[in-house]
């Protein structure tokens, strides 16, 4: 049996870019994407300023502040270590590349952290 799921697997995410502009975007849950990739796919931050390491939690260019009270997956050691060395870190900082797009994140609101000088 073939099941069609067109449009069924998108969630809504609100992303405030580095200029303070708010964007409400659809993010697919069935494309194995993370939040950093969603930001890049909508070009909400210039290419080359986000996701520099490609999503290995080895740079902090996709750092964001989570403003909604969603329950998020626990931080891995890599993410925690990276955030402990990153700049502009706040209590609600996460690395976008470590947040997988799942249905649980529907309605998520995040703000992109400033670009490191």
């Amino acid at each position: 049996m073939i099941q069609l799921q067109i449009g069924m697997s998108d969630i809504k995410i609100k992303i405030i870019d580095r200029e303070g502009v708010s964007h409400e975007v659809d993010a697919p849950t069935d494309m194995n994407m993370n939040l950093m990739e969603v930001v890049r796919s909508y070009e909400l931050a210039p290419e080359g300023t986000i996701g520099i390491c490609g999503g290995m939690a080895m740079c902090a260019s996709c750092q964001c502040y989570v403003q909604s009270d969603h329950e998020l997956p626990e931080m891995s050691d890599d993410e925690e270590a990276m955030l402990s060395e990153a700049f502009n870190v706040k209590d609600n900082s996460r690395l976008g590349c470590q947040l997988h797009i799942t249905e649980d994140l529907d309605g998520l609101q995040v703000e992109l952290a400033p670009e490191e000088a």
């Binding site: 210039p46 080359g48 390491c53 740079c59 050691d77 270590a81 402990s84 060395e85 700049f87």
Partner: protein
């Protein structure tokens, strides 16, 4: 002056493979890289991570890929200027280029191929007021001459391998070593962490965690740094001669962006319909550093771009020569070192 046929800026996988393709065309290459070792991101950021999309390798560690490439290009005897950043480019009347590094090393070549990836890796600087005022005046981001810290009071910030390793090393040289890190946990080789623990117990390293440096003070030269305990928000001034923040490296396109090349999305625009040449004839850009419609930043795409670039470079260097591409299976590989690899000849023998 270093002279070569193709001057490659960036010794990552794309730059290294370009040496091979150039070598098949009897062109010599020299590579410049800001890092002290070849391999680019593969060596610097993720040497122990596997890559699954190199054709013919179901799985290969990034570090091993670099080792293999170095082995593959060995017969073509590439030259390296490592630990130096390409700073300026000058086009001579004959159309050739002189590229000078930040240390003044000059390179002369008819063709320049920028394989600079995300740019050159520069130390990440903490966001502190007056930081620049104290640079080379008490603040350094790299330790080049450990001896200058003899009998000095040194404060190191960071939680990775370099912060740990230098704290250990300087504990024997400096008068006082203080290590400040935002967390109680360090991410480094286990024996480095244990060694720091031991030196702390012996009173040879003053460890302040969880804490961060929040201010720098000093009349003309750095005299004190303010360290904030992040659990209590209490701030303390620590008297120091030197402050060394070791927060890793991050890539910056850097001086290349002032070379008059067309830049889009932090990358160099190239002609992807033909040879990956930039808007300046004779300068090519290959691998992650370039952009064109449909660009993918994949190592395998960089290999392809390097190959086409070399064909175009050959024509540019030898405008009057005719050339047809030869398969390595047919032509073998003849190195500049005299080595020759070729397919074994089939034995022809009569059957009685």
């Amino acid at each position: 002056m270093i002279k070569t046929d193709i001057l490659i800026i960036g010794a990552g996988p794309t730059g290294l493979f370009a040496v091979f393709e150039a070598g098949l065309l009897q062109l010599k290459c020299h590579l410049i890289d800001a890092l002290p070792q070849a391999g680019g991101q593969c060596s610097e950021i993720y040497p122990k991570k596997p890559i699954y999309d190199i054709p013919g390798f179901p799985e290969v560690l990034a570090g091993d890929l670099v080792d293999n490439l170095m082995e593959q290009i060995k017969p073509f005897q590439p030259g390296f200027t490592l630990g130096e950043r390409a700073e300026t480019i000058e086009k001579l009347e004959d159309g050739s280029f002189i590229v000078t590094t930040n240390k003044g090393t000059k390179h002369h070549a008819p063709v320049v191929a920028i394989a600079g990836g995300l740019g050159s890796f520069e130390p990440r600087k903490p966001l502190l007021e007056n930081l620049e005022k104290y640079e080379d005046n008490g603040v350094a981001y790299m330790i080049k001459e450990p001896e200058i810290y003899r009998n000095k009071k040194v404060l190191i910030a960071g939680g990775g391998d370099s912060a740990l390793d230098w704290s250990i090393f300087l504990a024997d040289i400096a008068k006082e070593v203080t290590l400040v890190h935002r967390r109680n946990e360090f991410r480094g080789a286990l024996d480095s962490v244990e060694k720091v623990q031991q030196l702390k117990n012996e009173g040879k390293i003053n460890l302040i965690t969880p804490a961060e440096v929040v201010a720098l003070k000093g009349e003309n030269r750095l005299e004190k740094v303010t360290v904030k305990d992040t659990s209590t928000s209490e701030e303390t001034d620590v008297e120091v001669d030197d402050f060394i923040p070791l927060f890793g490296l991050s890539p910056k396109l850097g001086p290349i962006s002032n070379w008059g090349l067309e830049i889009e999305k932090n990358a160099i625009k190239v002609d992807n319909t033909y040879d990956y040449q930039t808007n300046i004839p004779g300068i090519y850009a290959i691998g992650d550093v370039n952009t064109y419609p449909g660009k993918l930043k994949l190592i395998l795409c960089g290999f392809h771009e390097a190959t086409l670039m070399c064909q175009s470079a050959y024509q540019r260097i030898n405008p009057d020569k005719k050339y047809v591409m030869k398969y390595t299976t047919v032509g073998g590989v003849t190195g500049f070192d005299g080595s020759k690899k070729e397919a074994p000849k089939a034995v022809v023998k009569a059957i009685d």
